[in-house]
């Protein structure tokens, strides 16, 4: 790992059920969960704290052009740019690259239900659908549904225009967005990049996907490692996380302070036969094992709670690796695309504080860690496909 070019995390922006920004998250981690069990009952949803969007998206007109997932993303991107000290720096933003992990698909649920109700009795099915969509779809809603329009809105609101790429594909998109941004900077294809994503779980049409998959837990909040007995499952969470990745010399030159070093990211897509996750983790772990100093290292797991993959990850982490583990899904819920960027963000925040937050689990997986924190391994086993693995380290 003797990379000539080192990559620092110089900006972190995060919004979730725990709060907005770095300090709010640091305060809330390790405290009892804030999951909501009534709003979308029987499903458990980690709802975002109320956000004053005006603070990062000053024009109401801009806010109106977006749906909630985009507003959260643009807001978190603004926070990251702000604490990287680059907000409003037009020259810098004009050469800042951007990779966003996003899905989209927020719809006007009321319109959908009303059209569906009408379709049941429509004489001319096609004509009825056309007529209703022509009259009921808001033109701006289209733009609020397109995956790449979160990035588009970040360009408009914050002026990031070096480049703009949007990756789709649930957890995998978040992992690869960071992996590609990191690889580009290491290879000299980029100097500085804004990377992240956002997901809004507080929508009926969005939750529907995971109802169809039957991979959601019901009724009561539970901690990630405790769900296996009841068959496992996810608790969705609204989440937005953005990071500024920057080449070390570039950061030094402009006086930017690092939260942490992003040392490596690996990703893969293995089949999900029994043992495949273990083998993938084994392979990715072997890439960093030599470098990791167990007494000062911890693991932030992106485990979803979906079984049997969570059990496989749990067994690997506890039996094989033996570092202190935290499953952030217990706190944040699961936010798909931004989950991995959020976990990298939390790793960076913990490294800046120099210690790990308290365990939130009595299943035996999470144990207290008192030693100074110098390294964090972040895992991502996508609920359906895609695996990711990162090493984040303290900067001296």
């Amino acid at each position: 790992m003797a990379d000539a070019r080192e990559v620092w995390i110089t900006g972190v922006g995060i919004v979730s059920c725990l709060g907005e920004g770095i300090e709010a998250h640091w305060e809330a981690l390790g405290k009892p969960s804030t999951a909501d069990t009534t709003a979308f009952a029987p499903y458990v949803v980690h709802r975002a704290v109320p956000v004053d969007f005006d603070k990062q998206i000053p024009k109401k007109g801009d806010q109106r052009q977006m749906e909630a997932w985009q507003r959260y993303g643009v807001y978190a991107a603004g926070l990251a740019l702000q604490n990287a000290g680059m907000k409003g720096n037009a020259d810098l933003l004009a050469h800042t690259d951007m990779i966003v992990a996003a899905g989209g698909g927020e719809r006007d649920g009321k319109v959908d239900i009303s059209v569906l109700a009408g379709l049941r009795t429509a004489n001319d099915h096609g004509a009825y659908l056309n007529q209703r969509l022509m009259s009921d779809l808001r033109p701006t809603l289209f733009l609020a549904q397109l995956a790449n329009l979160m990035a588009g809105n970040i360009s408009i609101v914050h002026g990031v225009t070096g480049s703009s790429r949007t990756f789709m594909g649930e957890e995998q998109a978040g992992v690869d967005a960071l992996r590609i941004a990191l690889a580009r900077i290491k290879a000299g294809q980029s100097e500085i990049a804004l990377v992240g994503g956002a997901y809004n779980a507080e929508r009926l049409e969005v939750i529907l996907y995971y109802v169809l998959a039957k991979c959601l837990t019901h009724d009561q909040h539970s901690r990630v490692w405790e769900r296996a007995a009841a068959g496992g499952g996810m608790e969705l969470g609204t989440l937005a996380a953005f990071l500024v990745l920057e080449e070390k010399q570039h950061a030094l030159k402009r006086g930017a302070k690092p939260f942490a070093r992003l040392t490596s990211i690996e990703s893969d897509q293995v089949n999900r036969m029994p043992g495949a996750i273990t083998a993938a983790l084994e392979r990715m772990w072997s890439g960093v094992a030599q470098r990791v100093m167990p007494e000062n290292a911890a693991i932030l797991s992106g485990a979803t709670g979906v079984e049997p993959i969570t059990a496989e990850e749990r067994a690997f982490l506890t039996q094989h690796v033996g570092l202190a583990v935290r499953a952030t899904g217990t706190h944040l819920g699961h936010g798909l695309e931004p989950q991995f960027p959020a976990n990298i963000a939390l790793a960076a925040i913990a490294l800046r504080h120099g210690h790990l937050f308290a365990p939130a689990d009595d299943s035996g997986v999470e144990r207290a860690m008192d030693a100074p924190l110098r390294q964090v391994v972040v895992t991502s086993i996508g609920h359906r496909r895609g695996e990711g693995f990162a090493l984040v380290e303290a900067v001296d």
């Binding site: 239900i113 001319d124 056309n130 733009l143 789709m168 995998q172 998109a173 897509q269 990711g388």
Partner: protein
């Protein structure tokens, strides 16, 4: 011959190409029709067009799929294009492609057919609500719908089918998506991460809702009769783009890897440029700065100057605004030469294949280099005096073409330009 380019990076070459559009399946059919000035645009029969302002598109109706949906047909088209590209390159072995996948896919959402299926399964007769859809979902009988409409499904399945290596990257940069997929492949090879990459753009999203969405933005041509005459890039009477379906696939390799296995080199991916636009969600900056910047970035990346370009494969959508802006950008980048460089719009014949366009049009750009023949801009009956360009009007033309630039501009401020050459320098 040098294996690295002017910047010391591995030279990236093309060893396989595949394409499918409303003109037909495969390079040969497409090239023959494209250079004959044929249009693939027709009346839409897939859905009712009752009450719609636009009743035409370049749908692909000759490929049967069992449960039609946008991702289902997209994946099928991508598969056909990838099979053709891999066969031409003779790379790897069946189901074992020796490199990563970068695939541009249209945004994915559960569609009306699936929603209605859920309503029927719920048995709800009276008031309807999401609770009814959830009840149907909780039966577990609709897991296939979830599988099909995950954002990563097309890319995930394609990676498994072709045995590409590592995590497949599914991306969307609106109308620039196909070009972004190619750019990501070029970058991976230049970094030395891979010696080959499979880059695909695919789109099969013509359905009532997407037609209406674009229609509500006043982006579509409403010249329904005759359908073949609707797409009129650069003409004075242009009135919008025509939605279309298709897929394009490229096998990229480092020159070194291609030569080592004795592969035939079909062209060179010489440069990629991009620049985002912060002006507006659907409109380009009136000063053209981002589209000018992305073309210049692509030329710089290729180590070429505007004088080296012999042909411009235009974004050329046929919307009043795009074509005017593209003229502004081209005339700024190429100066006095702008009037003399042939520039043509494939979309006049195949329509706008949206997420696939950058990949489809790269295949056509490479075929232009291979055949030394430039496909025309058809339906160019009334020149627009404010766009004084040589659009290769209506008839294909033989020409000496060594370097091509292909433009892709999209909603959300996406701008990508690719520079392609005939052979390694």
């Amino acid at each position: 011959m040098a294996k690295t380019d002017q910047a010391g990076r591995p030279i990236v070459v093309v060893t396989g190409m595949g394409v499918i559009t409303s003109l037909g399946a495969g390079r040969e059919d497409n090239w023959r029709k494209l250079t004959a000035g044929e249009s693939g645009i027709h009346e839409i029969t897939r859905i009712s067009t009752e009450g719609l302002k636009t009743r035409i598109a370049g749908t692909i109706d000759f490929i049967p799929v069992e449960h039609h949906s946008s991702p289902e047909l997209s994946e099928r088209l991508a598969t056909i294009a990838a099979e053709e590209a891999i066969a031409q390159s003779s790379i790897g072995s069946r189901g074992d492609f020796p490199g990563p996948l970068f695939i541009a896919v249209a945004p994915i959402e559960i569609e009306w057919d699936q929603r209605e299926e859920l309503v029927r399964a719920s048995g709800a007769n009276g008031d309807l609500g999401y609770a009814d859809l959830y009840r149907a979902g909780e039966t577990g009988k609709f897991r296939h719908v979830y599988e099909r409409f995950l954002f990563g499904s097309v890319g995930g399945n394609m990676a498994e089918r072709f045995g590409t290596k590592g995590s497949p990257i599914t991306l969307s940069t609106a109308c620039a998506s196909g070009a972004s997929a190619i750019q990501l492949g070029v970058e991976a090879i230049r970094r030395g991460e891979a010696s080959a990459a499979l880059c695909i753009g695919t789109d099969a999203s013509v359905n009532a809702e997407s037609l209406i969405r674009f229609s509500l933005l006043s982006a579509l041509s409403t010249s329904n009769d005759p359908p073949q005459g609707a797409s009129r890039p650069f003409a004075k009477d242009r009135d919008g783009f025509v939605m279309a379906e298709g897929a394009g696939a490229l096998v990229l390799e480092s020159l070194e890897a291609a030569q080592a296995r004795g592969a035939k080199i079909l062209g060179v991916l010489e440069g990629c440029g991009e620049m985002a636009d912060s002006f507006h969600r659907t409109r380009s900056s009136p000063d053209g700065k981002p589209s000018i910047g992305c073309m210049r970035n692509a030329l710089n990346d290729a180590g070429l100057s505007p004088e080296d370009i012999d042909y411009i494969n235009a974004h050329g959508t046929g919307t009043p605004e795009n074509d005017k802006n593209e003229y502004l950008s081209v005339s700024t980048v190429f100066g006095e030469r702008a009037k003399g460089i042939p520039i043509s719009a494939n979309k006049s014949m195949i329509g706008h294949t949206i997420s696939a366009a950058g990949a489809v049009e790269s295949v056509f750009s490479l075929l232009t280099l291979e055949h030394q023949r430039i496909p025309p801009t058809i339906n160019y009956k009334i020149p627009d005096p404010s766009i004084p360009l040589d659009v290769v009007p209506n008839t294909a033309r033989d020409a000496r073409v060594t370097h091509v630039i292909s433009n892709s501009f999209g909603f959300g401020g996406q701008n990508v330009a690719l520079v392609m050459g005939r052979e390694p320098r």
